[in-house]
C-alpha cells in the first residue's frame, strides 16, 4: 500500500499543537512507516503540495496569508482536521476580536501600550496584513474533523490518526475531548459518553 500523504499546517497558533504532535513519542516511528509527511513546519518543503490525504491544521485564520493558505490546503487535501482550540474556536488568537478590528488592535499594541509610543508598521509584503476578525478554520473552509484541546494530547492525536488511517469514522467525543484542557478536564471521569456522533458539520 502506498504511504499516506500527511501534512501539518501552522496558522495563528503558538505551535503547542505541533509540540503535542511530537508528544506521540515512539508512535512517530510507526507513523513514519505508514505515512509520509509531505508538508509541515517540521520538514523543509516550501509549497503546500497537491493530493494530500490528511492534514492537521493548527491555529486560527488571522491574516491574509493564512486565508490564502487555508484555501489552498482545503483544495488540495482529502481530510482536513481542525487541530487544537485556536483552529476550532479562535481561542487566544481571537481574544483581539473584542477590540473590533485590525486598526484598533494595532493602535493598542504599537501606540497606546508601547513605551515609547511607536508607529504602526506600514503594510508591506514582509508582514502580512491582519484580518479585522480572527476566524476559526471552519468559518472559512469545510472541516472534516474537530480535535479541540489546548493542546490536544499526544494520545488523542494518535487516536485520531489511527482512525483516519484505517478509514474508520472518528467520533472523538468518546475520548473526552474538551476545550482548554490537555485531554480531559478534572472531575469529568463520571460523565457518560456522548449521546450521538458529533462529526456532522453544518
Amino acid at each position: 500500500m502506498a504511504r499516506l500523504r500527511l501534512a501539518t499546517v501552522w496558522l495563528g497558533g503558538c505551535s503547542g499543537c505541533h509540540m503535542s504532535f511530537l508528544d506521540m513519542d515512539e508512535y512517530l516511528i510507526d507513523l513514519a512507516e505508514i505515512a509520509e509527511v509531505v508538508f509541515s513546519p517540521l520538514v523543509d518543503s516550501k509549497q503546500y503540495p497537491e493530493g494530500v490525504d490528511v492534514v492537521l491544521v493548527e491555529g486560527a485564520v488571522c491574516n491574509v496569508e493564512h486565508l490564502e493558505m487555508i484555501r489552498r490546503v482545503r483544495a488540495n487535501s482529502r481530510i482536513l482536521i481542525s487541530f487544537g482550540d485556536c483552529a476550532v474556536t479562535g481561542n487566544v488568537s481571537a481574544i483581539r476580536n473584542v477590540q473590533g478590528g485590525a486598526l484598533p488592535v494595532l493602535e493598542r499594541a504599537y501606540v497606546e501600550l508601547s513605551d515609547p509610543s511607536g508607529g504602526i508598521p506600514s503594510p508591506s509584503d514582509i508582514v502580512p496584513k491582519l484580518l479585522d476578525r480572527v476566524l476559526p478554520v471552519h468559518a472559512v473552509v469545510k472541516v472534516d474533523t474537530f480535535l479541540p484541546g489546548c493542546p490536544p494530547s499526544g494520545p488523542m492525536i494518535r487516536t485520531a490518526l489511527e482512525k483516519v488511517l484505517t478509514g474508520e469514522p472518528i467520533d472523538l467525543m468518546e475520548h473526552h475531548l474538551s476545550f482548554g484542557g490537555y485531554g480531559r478536564p478534572k472531575g469529568s471521569e463520571h460523565l457518560p459518553a456522548s449521546p450521538s456522533s458529533s462529526q456532522s458539520h453544518s
Binding site: 487566544v92 481571537a94 476580536n97 489546548c150 467525543m173 473526552h176 476545550f179 472531575g187
Partner: protein, 236 residues
C-alpha cells in the same frame, strides 16, 4: 403523602407529590443535564437544559411537578439536539477562552459541552465587550464568562440573606450587578461570605489571585451550608 406513579424513559417510577420531574428522575438514577439548577436553591428554569418531553410536550423538568401517569422522555434525539444547541449558543454569547480561564477543568459549561458532544461551535461568536470587576478585595467578576444562570443571585438572597446580586439590562446587555450597579467592592450589603463564588458554574466569579485552572468552586461546603439551613443538620 400522596404518591404519584409515572413513567420516565419507559421505566415506571413512583414519586412524592410536589416533587419535580428532575428530582424524581434523579432519585430513580436517571441523569438530566442542568446548568442554572443548584440543589437547595429555588428553581428558575433559566437555561432550559433540563427540558424533557412529557406527554409529548417540551417542559423544563426542574419546574414541572410530577403527575400521575405522566409519560416522560429525557433522552430523545430532539432533546439532545436542543441541549447541544443551547450549550453552543451559551459559548457564542460571551467570550469563553477555556485555555486561559480560571475555571478551566472546573467548569460546568465545559463539562456539559463534553458530555453533549460539542466539539465546535456552529454559531458565530458574538464577541461582546465585557467588563471585569476586581473592586472586591477577595473576589472577582468576569462578565466574559457569565452564563446568566442567576445562581449567584439566588444563593446570596436565599442562603446568605444579603441580596447583593441582581440582574440588569435586557438581551445582549443583560448583566449581573451588585447593589444598585455599584462596583462589588463598594456594595455595602455584601458580607464577603463567598457563597456566590461557590455557586457559580463557570469562571465568572472567582477568588482573586487564582490563575488558570486554579479556581475550584467549593460545592461541598456550599451544600453543607444549604443542608444546615434547610434541615438544621450541622456538620461538625
Amino acid at each position: 403523602m400522596a404518591v404519584k406513579t409515572l413513567s420516565v424513559d419507559g421505566q415506571l417510577i413512583s414519586a412524592r407529590e410536589g416533587q419535580t420531574l428532575l428530582e424524581a428522575a434523579r432519585e430513580a438514577g436517571i441523569s438530566i443535564p442542568t446548568l442554572c439548577h443548584l440543589d437547595g436553591l429555588n428553581a428558575v428554569g433559566a437555561c432550559r437544559l433540563c427540558l424533557v418531553e412529557a406527554n409529548g410536550r417540551l417542559l423544563p423538568s426542574c419546574l414541572t411537578p410530577v403527575a400521575e401517569e405522566m409519560d416522560v422522555q429525557t433522552q430523545t434525539d430532539r432533546l439532545q439536539r436542543y441541549r447541544k444547541q443551547i450549550v453552543e449558543l451559551l459559548f457564542a454569547e460571551r467570550n469563553h477562552v477555556c485555555s486561559v480561564c480560571v475555571a478551566n477543568g472546573n467548569c460546568e459549561l465545559q463539562s456539559l459541552a463534553m458530555r453533549l458532544g460539542v466539539d465546535h461551535l456552529r454559531y458565530e461568536p458574538q464577541e461582546p465587550e465585557c467588563e471585569v470587576d476586581l473592586s472586591h478585595e477577595r473576589y472577582g467578576l468576569d462578565h466574559n464568562r457569565c452564563v446568566l444562570c442567576t445562581r449567584c443571585v439566588r444563593v446570596c438572597d436565599e442562603i446568605e440573606g444579603a441580596h447583593t446580586w441582581d440582574v440588569a439590562g435586557r438581551g445582549t446587555h443583560c448583566r449581573v450587578i451588585t447593589d444598585l450597579h455599584q462596583p462589588w467592592g463598594d456594595a455595602s450589603t455584601c458580607t464577603s461570605c463567598g457563597k456566590c463564588v461557590m455557586a457559580c458554574p463557570t469562571g465568572a466569579l472567582f477568588h482573586r489571585g487564582s490563575s488558570v485552572s486554579e479556581n475550584v468552586h467549593d460545592r461541598e461546603t456550599l451544600h453543607a451550608l444549604i443542608l444546615a439551613r434547610e434541615e438544621k443538620q450541622w456538620l461538625v
